[in-house]
């Protein structure tokens, strides 16, 4: 050997002098230091595991969990039996949360880019440097008098408790979100009819379940809570009928499955409503008392939606529509579970209005076993409330083009910034990955790369996402298992609950919860009055728990930090909450410049005050509704000032030129399709959540590749056999993907899951330790060789003009066998 001990030790001799234990190297950090007195630690002693309750965030369901900690390490996650929604159960995604903490490609230090944006060269900086830089930039934005040029864009946000006051105190309402790439159109429809967004299908008590465009047994909002109750209901004999373009596991476990044509679910719901009305199976009391239409008006309006017409458009046989309608109205309780498959369309908002109508006439609104308003728990807020910021750039909330898009239009934020709809000085992304999750990812990336459009991009992320790769500064976020948030979720027991998210382990490396970063920035920017002296998220939560109604009586923080969840054990479900009568004091003005008035036509009881001196124009004015001389709580408006009745006829819709009654809006791009064109839809699998779980090795071992589902008839026409490589082409791009030939899909549709095809996000997602790609193919432990495709790259930005939702399920494509796929 060339290098002898001698040469080594010569180095050692030189080194020994310089790097002695009591080293003279000034300022050198040492990995260890002598601890005088030492700890008496036996190698044989096994420490007991600690069990710490918290809340999962692998998806939005917010299941109660328990983390088991041994030697300061999280070793296992289980469901928390004290959590009333998930009742001790967890899905696979939740259990793999351990992987989020210990992902070897996790970002543990603040990083600043060197070289060009997107070049992939980074340098570690200290938190102090990072915070100084951000503080200076944000100060400049504020001092310039245009606070709205600071844009904060979030995805999964469970920290509005700090973000909202922070942005308000800063003075910017330029806050982007991600709701419109999920279910915004559904939410807007619900807000236009019964006030709050989100519903709870009380399936545990249902006997008949219609599933429209969703897959509750594999993935859903509030998935676990819903899924286990669907299973309970089925075990108790409930029937289930599923409309889905694809034979999902939910469809497969239903009594009947209808591969419906995309975007026609609303029409089928209208035809069913028509059958129910024509046959006199409707809930007359509800319609006449609680909606703003009469049975006769409905009868007349619905007559046009015959089962034959619906059958022609949707492909669901007329006789079946009739039969299901009668069953739905007579096997009670019944309810419709509807989600993205139905609302991620050009006509998504309207589809949901149609389903809400169907639920209403069947008498399912907020009744046991029906479609209920959400009940969520309420935490006390120990912060002050800064005045609501109003200034915002047009790009984050294009009301001029989408007047009813109350949940904004996330997919258009970057494209609009790129077009110059509002100047941006600082763009801060949090828990969002636009190049991957938004439609037309290439366009999204172009804007992110454009330093004129976005001069400074701060990204809070624990991983090197496709978005982080295009940042100027990456702040290493703590994972959800290392932080604190007050939590709640729509309750499936119909009794509201609260849950705690608390750090199960300390943030790894130098990662830091964004919550704490915002609090620190508020102090540095001199806008921290609202903090009321609270120094970090842990203290916030302690104070919140000790002040929360109900919880404080059983021990506040001491209770919830040990139990993880709290709800009023004596409380029973309060179905038909809208029919609760108001007390006389509810109808009295709260101050001397307030007046309570009743709208003679609609019966709405509302208050007039300084801000709203002469008319009913804000949900904040709502008091209740007068019906037949009595005063009720009614359907409390949210954002839109609706009447307080269940609004089947919508003045709001009419005001903006949209149909005032639920109707069928054919999808324009589907009306002119050529014979060889197909509709591309996307779906989720049961072990992944959108874009943020693929770095979990345990999950990606199970699902790492995807294929495009194609019907045998459709495949045969193209000479495609199972496993062939095909090219799927839309107007914005194409992708090559394996074909999965299966009867389990509508012949006019191809479908592909959307969790694969990462090109960053670490070794498990992309096979590359991005961005250099070293080790590709060498990583023997990543035994899977394919990382799948991402359909979002070929899906154009297409917005539901009413609800603002992205029409992910409308994309017109062609599918051809590739050269490589031949033979």
């Amino acid at each position: 050997m060339e290098l002898t001990r001698r040469t080594f030790l010569k180095l050692g001799a030189a080194g020994a002098a310089t790097f002695a234990i009591n080293g003279s190297l000034s300022g050198a950090a040492r990995a260890m230091e002598l601890k005088l007195g030492g700890k008496d630690i036996s190698r044989l002693t096994r420490k007991e595991r600690q069990a710490i309750p918290s809340t999962c965030m692998q998806c939005v369901t917010a299941c109660g969990i328990i983390g088991y900690v041994e030697d300061d390490r999280l070793v296992k996650l289980e469901g928390n039996p004290e959590a009333s929604n998930n009742r001790g159960r967890m899905c696979a995604r939740g259990q793999a949360g351990v992987n989020q903490v210990y992902d070897p490609d996790r970002i543990l230090y603040p990083m600043r880019r060197v070289g060009q944006r997107g070049e992939g060269k980074w340098k570690r900086i200290t938190w102090d440097e990072a915070l100084n830089e951000i503080t200076a930039k944000l100060k400049a934005v504020r001092d310039g008098g245009k606070p709205e040029e600071f844009v904060f864009h979030y995805g999964r946000n469970r920290m509005s408790w700090i973000l909202d006051p922070f942005m308000n105190a800063f003075g910017s309402a330029s806050v982007g979100n991600h709701t419109s790439i999920c279910e915004a159109s559904k939410f807007v429809a619900q807000q236009s009819m019964w006030g709050p967004y989100q519903d709870v299908n009380d399936v545990a008590n249902a006997k008949y379940i219609l599933v429209m465009g969703c897959n509750p047994l594999e993935a859903h909002t509030v998935h676990n809570a819903l899924c286990q109750r669907v299973i309970d209901a089925r075990a108790a004999g409930a029937r289930m009928v599923t409309f889905d373009v694809r034979l999902s596991n939910t469809a497969a476990r239903s009594d009947r499955w209808y591969p419906i044509k995309p975007g026609t679910d609303g029409l089928v719901a209208l035809a069913m409503a028509n059958v129910i009305i024509q046959n006199g199976l409707y809930d007359e009391e509800f319609i006449e008392t609680w909606t703003n239409v009469t049975v006769d008006e409905l009868k007349e309006h619905l007559a046009q939606f015959t089962t034959e017409m619906a059958a022609r458009e949707s492909g669901v046989p007329a006789a079946d529509i009739e039969k299901i309608a009668v069953e739905f109205a007579t096997i009670k309780p019944s309810t419709v579970i509807s989600y993205r498959g139905m609302v991620s369309h050009y006509n998504g908002m309207m589809n949901e209005r149609c389903v809400m109508l169907l639920e209403a006439i069947a008498g399912n609104i907020d009744v046991k076993g029906g479609r209920c308003l959400k009940r969520t728990g309420k935490w006390a807020n120990p912060f002050g409330s800064p005045k609501e910021a109003k200034a915002k750039i047009g790009a984050v909330d294009p009301k001029k083009d989408y007047p009813l898009a109350a949940h904004k239009v996330a997919q258009e934020v970057l494209p609009r910034i790129g077009k110059g709809e509002g100047k941006v000085q600082v763009y801060w992304t949090y828990c969002i990955n636009p190049p991957y999750v938004m439609p037309d990812g290439n366009r999204q990336m172009e804007v992110l790369k454009d330093e004129k459009a976005i001069p400074f991009h701060v990204c809070s992320d624990a991983y090197y996402s496709e978005n982080a790769a295009l940042a100027d500064l990456i702040l290493p976020d703590a994972t959800y298992l290392e932080r604190y948030d007050p939590e709640t979720s729509p309750s499936f027991t119909i009794v509201p609950f609260i849950q705690v998210r608390q750090a199960i382990t300390n943030p790894l490396g130098e990662s830091r919860p964004t919550q704490d970063v915002l609090m620190e920035l508020a102090r540095r920017l001199g806008i921290g009055d609202f903090l009321n002296g609270i120094k970090d998220s842990a203290e916030y939560l302690r104070k919140a728990a000790d002040a929360t109604e109900g919880l404080k009586d059983v021990g506040g923080w001491e209770y919830i930090r040990k139990v993880g969840a709290w709800y009023d054990k004596g409380k029973k479900p309060d179905y038909k909450s809208y029919a609760k009568e108001l007390k006389p004091e509810d109808l009295k003005p709260k101050s001397k410049d307030e007046r309570i008035v009743v709208d003679g036509k609609t019966g709405t009881v509302y208050k007039l005050d300084k801000d709203h001196p002469d008319k009913y124009e804000s949900d904040k004015q709502y008091v209740g509704i007068r019906i037949g001389g009595k005063y009720y709580k009614g359907f409390k408006p949210y954002k839109f000032p609706i009447s307080g009745k269940f609004e089947i006829r919508s003045a709001l819709m009419a005001k903006y030129g949209f149909p005032e009654l639920p109707t069928y809006i054919p999808i324009p791009t589907h009306q002119s399709m050529k014979p060889d064109e197909l509709i591309l839809t996307t779906f989720k699998v049961n072990v992944h959540t959108q874009s943020r779980t693929q770095n979990c090795k345990w999950l990606t071992e199970i699902h790492n590749d995807n294929a495009v589902w194609i019907n045998p008839v459709t495949a045969a026409k193209r000479g495609v056999a199972d496993g062939d490589l095909v090219k799927v082409t839309s107007k914005v791009g194409s992708m090559e993907v394996r074909a999965r030939v299966t009867e389990g899909i509508h012949p006019g549709v191809v479908a592909v899951s959307f969790h694969s095809g990462h090109w960053q996000y670490g070794r498990y997602c992309s096979g590359k330790k991005a961005p250099a790609g070293v080790g590709d193919g060498e990583d023997r432990h990543v035994w899977w060789k394919n990382f799948g495709v991402l359909p979002n790259l070929i899906i154009p930005v297409a917005t539901d003009p009413i609800g603002g939702g992205q029409a992910y399920m409308d994309t017109v494509v062609t599918v051809d066998k590739t050269q490589a796929g031949r033979g």
Binding site: F8, G12, G15, L25, V101
Partner: protein, 236 residues
Amino acid sequence: MERVVSPGEVAGQRGGVYGILAQVFLKEMDRALLRTLRAPELASALAELGLDPVDTLGQAPEAQVLEALAVDYAGLFLGPGPHVPPYESVFVGPDAGDGQGSLCGEPAVRMRRLAEEEGLEISPELTAIPDHLAVELEYMQRLASAEAEQWLAGDHAAAAAIREKQRVFLDEHLGRWLPAFVSRVAEASRSSFYRKMAELAGEFTAEDRRLLDDRRPERTTGSDPGPDPDGWPNQC
């Protein structure tokens, strides 16, 4: 002219090598470390090992060299970049293999326990996880130095016991993953400096492991057993 090296000196020198390596991998290089490496004494010793700091680091101004090294260090050992996580857990353990495990596995716990048994603790300022390469290298440095002290103090049994500890540590920890780590760095490295330092660490540790196996003097009296012609390098 040959000079005889005693086991105590050898242990001290071995500790010296581990000390240098620990400093190099602990964090981005700072001015003081750069100057030390470039100083004649170390530089010539490194040059003999094919790692002339003057060559490898170039003659550019300090600030520029440090900046370039910081970028290399970040890309290699912190990520994002070619990223070879310098943690034992990533390479060893039930869930690992060839650099594909997760952070903070059992090895991290064991490393912390081993340190604690020596009356050491991981510096609170050190935000790295306990099974970081630099910690393991420094642990070897400390054991080797402790061994040297025992030789000099004349407690040969204690010295032998510490040698055993080092042997076990190399077998159960550092030696198990360092070769894979080194080859990963070699594949990934844009910079010849870290690549060469990693190779040096790998070669030295392997050689040191052989050295620890060598027959050792068994004398139990006297201040220092003196040279052993079979096992010890005898000139310097």
